[in-house]
Amino acid sequence: MPSNRIEIDPIYCKGCALCTIACPQKLIEMSDALNEQGYIPAVISSGNLARCTACALCARMCPDAAIRVFKSVETDGGQS
């Protein structure tokens, strides 16, 4: 079963770190490398991603709408 997933857009992210305090489990960290804009973007490790509940609080907190959230849902083959 695939885990929930968030995508932090490395172009939009300006490294404000507000998502790191929004995450109830503190799963998001700051990168150790600069992005194309010269900011230090937020990242989530694959290990932390496995614990993500797709609550989307990080995405709601992000001032740059840089985070997309995907939730793993079970379907019976029809529409989810």
Binding site: V73, E74, D76
Partner: protein, 255 residues
């Protein structure tokens, strides 16, 4: 039984797929997204006309995927009045900062509100003039240091910060007036609902709706985004309390 990944949070359709010029941590972006989500929710994107102010929010037309008119400094409510009176079926809102709305544009907002124009006003209060370099605004807090009050705002000579949401709630023409913050996910969700309610007030009842959004200006406050975000709860909300100050049917209409 199969498992699929469902997209549960994405950028709103009414927001263009572009990066903004806002500084890191600036919550104009949050307010923009909430406005776009409200327009998506009400299905008014195709008939929405935004009226931009002067200040950091001046590039509204670049970030919202709607029609936008650029108003002279402070005159957005007057321009919106004209737009709405000519195009009654369109959804019209202004998006203004505190320097624009509460200083140079005080006359326009008060009279547009008092007339009960069928427009919505989003007022972004970050207690300073952002674009021009952090000067003291009418909303600057007592003792707050700015580039034009380097020793702190002196209320004896500069007066007290204006509470616009409360002030406008005293006018007969105002249907909905509230203050929200976007400093944590709970407040952000409440802010989104308030903005949607103000928009709905116009779309469904033809009423004047006003939402004051408390936001940060990390650059001009001289703070990093996290410290600036903390200041909202520690200093701003105690002076600018969150809440709904007026919620009635528009003038001349039954509740």
């Amino acid at each position: 039984m199969t498992t699929v990944l469902k997209n549960v949070f994405d950028r709103p359709v009414s927001l263009k797929d572009v990066s903004t010029h806002f500084c890191p941590g600036c919550q104009h972006g949050t307010a923009h997204r909430l406005c776009a989500e409200a327009m998506d929710s009400l299905g008014v994107q195709q008939r929405a006309i935004g009226v931009a102010s002067v200040g950091c929010s001046v590039f509204l037309y670049g970030y919202f995927d709607i029609d936008v008119v650029e108003a002279p400094h402070g005159r957005a409510p007057a321009v919106a009045t004209g737009v709405k009176r000519v195009r009654k079926d369109d959804f019209v809102f202004t998006y203004q900062g505190d320097g624009d709305l509460a200083a140079i544009g005080t006359s326009e907002i008060i009279h547009a509100a008092n007339r009960g124009e069928a427009i919505s006003v989003i007022f972004v209060n970050n207690t300073t003039y952002g674009m021009t370099g952090g000067q003291m605004a009418p909303t600057t807090l007592p003792q707050q240091q700015t580039s034009t009050s380097p020793t702190g705002r002196n209320v004896a000579s500069d007066g007290y910060p204006i509470r616009m949401a409360e002030l406008l709630s005293g006018l007969e023409g105002v249907s909905y007036s509230c203050r929200v913050a976007v400093n944590n996910p709970k407040n952000i969700m409440a802010a989104g609902k308030a903005i949607e309610k103000a928009f709905r007030c116009q779309v469904e009842q033809g009423g004047f709706g006003f939402v004051e959004v408390l936001t940060t200006c990390p650059t001009n406050w001289g703070m990093n985004p996290l410290k600036a975000n903390n200041r909202v709860a520690e200093e701003m909300i105690p002076y600018f309390p969150l809440g709904v100050f007026k919620d009635i049917a528009p003038m001349g209409q039954e509740v």
